[in-house]
Amino acid sequence: MSVDSTDLAVQTKALSKVYEGTSAVDAIDLNVPRHSIYGFLGPNGAGKTTTMKMLLGLIRPTSGSGSIFGLDIEKDSPEVRRRVGYLPQEPRFYPHMTARETLRFAAGFFFSGPADRIESRVDEMLEMVGIQDKANRPIKTLSGGETQRLGIAQAQIHEPDLLILDEPAAALDPLGRRDVLAILERFRASSTVLYSTHILDDVQRVSDMICILKDGRIVEQGPIGDVLSSGNDSVFTIVIEGDVDRARATLLDQPWVDGVDADGGRTSGRLRITVNDVGTAEARLQRVLLEDEALVVKEFSRPSASLEDIFVDLVEDGPTDA
């Protein structure tokens, strides 16, 4: 997908990080459009957190460059951080502070007053994440889920243009996850959200764009719809009545068919056909079968892949080159 760089919230060019000869992030080119919810996926150690920390100036890139809203992530780091809200993985806050004091502290980096309006903003955030009844409890008494919610609130305290959330739903129960997804959806109108997660269902539900990292390299990046449709691009499913073996043999004779798996009996069954030329398959597949008058095609479809299938394919066996 081609996007004008002025429409991008985050852009990196060959951004890399090497630790003692080992590449943690390897020349990645991220393109995060403004007002998108951008899911950042990959197995543990793929380089997601390192990338996020480079964007925030917490880690220096070994090579390459990056910008956030056109600001250089190294030279303009303080200005970048004014426009970004960050939720770390496993957030930890000062244990001597309460939830309210933590939000007041976070607000203090952005606003100098008036005190009563800062307090209103703190109340608004506490309510947004549903921990207003825990506002005056010390941080150390909050559960993992409550701390995570506080983390989301502090990241959003100044209404950033970009939210960088490292596993925002990791410590949450299903209801907490649902709430977080709803909050992310709400952010879409005013902010861009770049978040990492292992929960692929969540990504499929809320993300506009995804990026899959493997061994520090991008193996897939694009709109979620495109990625999902590309997953099973070359697979067709047909349910037939008639001689299944003969139908299978007929299909395997076609040069644009790579393989046919058959389920069911000898006189009816489901064929899963993998092709190497989607256009020809779309035009010819049913016709080839219907030339045999003894066959009846009951169903014809192209199954949509789940993100999990695509993720597993890419991460386990997929290309290492973007």
Binding site: K53, L56, G57, L58, I59, R60, P78, E79, R81, R82, V84, Y86, P88, E90, P91, R92, F93, Y94, H96, M97, F105, A106, G108, F109, F110, F111, S112, G113, P114, R117, I118, S120, R121, E124, H158, E159, S190
Partner: protein, 261 residues
């Protein structure tokens, strides 16, 4: 587009090394003065200093001169406590992730380091030197021991310099190491190891040890000499300790600016 709730707020406009400084300083001071830390430390060191000196103060009149020697020795224990308290300041925050969280805000690394140095220095000096010393002066006055308040204050400042040595050393080590072990072990080893190396001629008179404990080069500690109005036998210790503090602070700032979190 900001919502009404943030549009009505006054945006901060601090840049460079001052970015985030006031917020971080406020939090640093609050961690001392808005928690029980300040009064528990102040109570502890008031009891320790006054309790340990009570024997000399209320006992044999000939032992009264020992009061000020003991004062210096007891502040050496406070220096060890400083190392224990300060080891969490940088390493603890690096390991817990709070440093990364704070530095994801629009703040400078210098502001972060100042917020560890200044509030902790003030907290340590107030609770381990100023408050216990004030009670000690009262204690001495009740015991009828005459002491010049200005000279006693100067002596307390010398003892404070010894505390600053360990505070800045621990702060610097926190930036150099990622685990608490060496950060606490090196100051403790140095604190106790000074006893051994203080016997080396020439060296004893420049170590921080000479500020609060007499050495083979100087029978009377600098603290004790200043309070009692005697000549200071080890002025080199003042210069070395103050210089070391400056070096430790500079190294800490330099390293912290290069630390990846």
């Amino acid at each position: 587009m900001p919502s009404n709730s943030t549009a009505l707020l006054e945006a901060r406009d601090d840049h460079g090394w001052r970015a985030g400084l006031s917020t971080l300083m406020g939090a640093g001071f609050a961690s001392w003065w808005r928690t029980k830390d300040w009064w528990t430390q102040a109570l502890l060191w008031t009891v320790v200093l006054n309790g340990s000196l009570a024997v000399a103060v209320w006992g044999d009149a000939s032992a009264r001169d020992e009061v000020f020697i003991l004062f210096g020795v007891m502040t050496m224990f406070a220096a060890i406590a400083v190392a224990v308290i300060m080891q969490e300041a940088i390493v603890g925050e690096k390991r817990s992730g709070t440093a990364a969280w704070v530095l994801s805000k629009p703040t400078s690394r210098e502001a972060f380091m100042f917020s560890k140095l200044v509030p902790n220095a003030v907290g340590v000096l107030a609770t381990m030197i100023v408050i216990p010393s004030a009670f000690l002066l009262l204690h001495l006055s009740l015991a009828g021991i005459e002491v010049s308040a200005p000279r006693f204050a100067l002596g307390a400042m010398v003892a404070a310099l010894n505390l600053m040595f360990f505070l800045t050393l621990t702060l610097m080590l926190g930036t150099l190491f990622d685990s608490a072990g060496p950060v606490i072990a090196i100051p403790l080893a140095f604190a106790f190891g000074q006893q051994l190396i203080a016997g080396i001629p020439g060296l004893g008179s420049v170590l921080p040890w000479a500020l609060v404990v007499g050495t083979s080069d100087s029978d009377t500690s600098v603290t004790s000499a200043v309070i009692t109005g005697q000549p200071v036998e080890a002025p080199g210790a003042l210069v070395f300790t103050a210089g070391a503090c400056v070096v430790f602070i500079l190294v800490a700032f330099w390293k912290w600016n290069r630390t990846e979190l």
